[in-house]
Each structure stands twice: as C-alpha cells, then as structure tokens.
Subunit: 242 residues, 2 copies
C-alpha cells in the first residue's frame, strides 16, 4: 500500500532523525579529536566595572549570579539595565554578565544598533573599545553616560591549548564556522582565543544565529581559515547564553 | 617626518578609498561579464491578495505606490499593517509591497519571528506557503486572520536569461553569495530565479544583512555553488528595499 506524506509530516520525520543524529554526537569525542563544539548565542548584554555598577545599582552593590554561563566562573546576573540611544530610543532589560571587569562595555547585535540609532558601532573583540561610541545607561540607582564601549562583538571561539593544538591553530588565529541546514552559512572570521581554562565554545550574536537559522542547523563545524578540508569538530549542542 | 594615525583616522581613510573603489565599479560591466550586482535588503513586509487588501483597507481599496523597487513594476506601498503574534505581541508599520498578488504572504526576518512568538516559520521561496503558520493582521478597515503565509524568505537572486547564461546557471539553481568586509560571510544557498524581465539583484533579509554587516562590505560577489573560482560579478551598490 502506497503511503503519502504531506510536507509537515516529512519535516517532522527529518527533525526526529536529526535529533537522533545529534544525540549520537553527544558521546565523548574519538581519541585525538577536539572537544565537542558548543555554539552559544549571546543576546545583547553589558559588562561593567565596579564603579559603573555602583553608579547604576547603588553604593557597594555587586552583581547577583542568576545562572552560570558555559565558561567557568562567568554568569548572567540578575541585574539588568536600560540602554538609551542618541534619539531617545531605548531597550530595556539589557542583561549584565559577571564577574565585573576593569572596563565597561556594551555588546549589541547590529539589529539593536539600528533600533537604537547609534552610529558607527564597529565589530571588535571584547576589551578593544578604543574609539568606539558611547551610550547612556539607566539603572535603579542612577543614570550613567558611558563615554565609549559600544561594540558589536566579533565572532570568537574559546578553546584550551589542547583543542588549539588539535585544530592546528594558536591564540588570535582566524577560523571559519560552517553551518549546514536550511540556511547554510560560512562565517569567515572567527577569532581564536586560547586559555588553559577555556572550554571549546563559539559565540555568535543573535543576528548571526538568526541569519544561519542556528536553531535548526543540521551540523556546525569549525575549521582553520587556511586548510579548508580539515573539519575536525562538529556541534553537539547549542543554546542561548544570555 | 613620521606621521602617526590613530585607528579612527585609518578607518576614515579606508572608508574613503573603498568609496572610490565602489564608484569605480559603477561603470558599465566589461563585455561578456554579467550585469552589475545589486544586493538589496528586504525588511519585513507583506504581499496581499485583492480580497485581503480590501478586508484591511476598505472595499474597493487598492495599494498606493510610495516608491518603486528595483524590479520593474514592483513598489513599496504607502499602506502598512500591524501584525499580531500568538502571544498578543505585535509589530506596527509592516510595509505592503505591490502589486497585489493571488495569495497573501508575510515575509519576516527570524528576529521578527522571535519577537512575535510565532512557532515554526520555515525558510521558503516566495509563493511556497503550503503548511506555513498563519497570523492576525490589522488594518484601518478591519482585522483578518491569515490562515497561512508567514515565511522567512529564502535568499534569492533575480536575473535575466542573459545573466544566467553568463553565470552558467539556470532557473532554480543554487548559487553562493560571498560578502567580504569586517564580518565576512558566505551564504551557501541563494536560489536563482530567471525571467527575461529581471534585473540582476539579490535579496537578503535584515538578519542576513546585519550578520554580514552588509552596509560596510568591501566587496560582494555571486558564484555558482559548483565551481568555486568562477567569480564573475561584483557588487556596485547596495540599498534597503522596504
């Protein structure tokens, strides 16, 4: 007896099969392979220095850990801010990530930048805030003009020395992130950040994750920008970071 | 005498040089080359059938051309809608594109989909709306429940038979869009749509344009998905479509 399936049924079957496929990849990596790759999506957020945190949340205030992030010691804080753009447009609920840092920095997707009307927000690595635009921040204890620190975070991969060696890359090298699925994309500039404490993790912002439809990706892999056939790590899971 | 330049000065110089470079590309293409490539960004928008347009804007109403789009005969209408998601979240000012069609369809970026809370919006070519989610639309003359028609538009390239022949592709083939700049991206699935009346144009949605920072791209090129070195058309200008 012939069986006909409508498109929705076919899509359901494909999703189920892909789900099994992903679970299968959740096992420990084969000997010699890099660690399993985690790709997390960073929604817009702020890092603050102690002085700025106190200006916004009160003297002596410190961030309250709400939930841990994938990298050891990092967390999403219970506290959030309102960010106010130059045309009085604002975004509420801007999450603060902890721990506090030596400088304050706001990481926005380009969609947020357009909504707020901030001009000339560059793509930068975290901490590289020289010459970046400022913005007003509003917290429960006060307002603060950040003189600089608004960036769009460059795509980056955290990894240990061991994973870097297996990929054949070093700190500050460039890799490519290959996303396969219904909206296939190759991100051509993934900055490598190596530290013994790092777990293998790529951070995309919401624009990047939405452009490649990460939530429905069938496979995501990281490869050195030179050496295009050297695909040695596949995604096993994905999540939203903040 | 040594001259030192800060980063902002260097960036300014680079922008100026790139501006000249782009202007240079604005000239007619060399003989045998494909037409100049235009990459336009489609913000969220709706296409409506005459019956739905009348339900929203009044009996006998027809869309008022506000400004022409790049493809002959197409236009952004003066009329816009409010789209209401399943959790009563809404987006106002959803632009209507003309002329009217035989079916109604709403094209959203994935960021819009998340904001509205609509589940399972697939990546589809325009017109392929079987099994897609519906949504409520609100206009000045009434409310309307669209039973289906919400899609995220697949990236596509309009081109004439002549341009298709020069790229070595045919209608429904897949090409790649290569975006170089400060956020380099290769979009792996660009659907080719050939018609004698089409001007060479790629449509990205706002998520895709933001992910690759299209506004600051130094070069954008289109190439067949098979035949990676066959880069035969470069961007000359970019714009926001709707």
């Amino acid at each position: 007896m012939a069986v006909t399936l409508d498109r929705a049924a076919v899509e359901r079957v494909v999703r189920e099969v892909l789900g099994e496929f992903r679970k299968g990849q959740d096992a420990a990596p084969p000997d010699g392979a890099a660690s399993p790759l985690k790709v997390n999506v960073s929604a817009r957020h702020a890092h603050l220095c102690p002085r700025d945190f106190e200006a916004l949340f009160g003297k002596g205030a410190r961030p309250t850990p709400l939930r841990p992030l994938y990298q050891e010691g990092h967390f999403a804080a219970a506290e959030s801010l309102t960010i106010i753009g130059p045309k009085s447009r604002l975004i509420t609920g801007l999450r603060i990530l902890g721990p506090l840092r030596e400088y304050s920095q706001v990481e926005l997707a380009y969609t947020d930048v357009v909504l707020l009307g901030i001009e000339k927000v560059p793509v930068r690595m975290s901490g590289d805030i020289e010459g970046t635009p400022g913005v007003w921040l509003m917290g429960p204890a006060g307002m603060l003009e950040l003189k600089r620190g608004v960036i769009r975070a460059a795509i980056h991969a955290h990894m240990s020395d061991r994973d870097a060696a297996r990929f054949g890359v070093a700190d500050k090298d460039i890799m490519e992130l290959v996303v396969e699925g219904d909206a296939p994309v190759i991100f051509g500039r993934v900055h490598v950040r190596v530290d013994p404490s790092y777990k293998l993790e790529v951070h995309l912002d919401t624009d990047e994750a939405n452009a490649c439809h990460l939530a429905s990706a069938s496979r995501v892999s990281l490869r050195p920008a030179k050496g295009r056939l050297n695909v040695i790590s596949d995604i096993i899971n994905k999540g939203v970071r903040a």
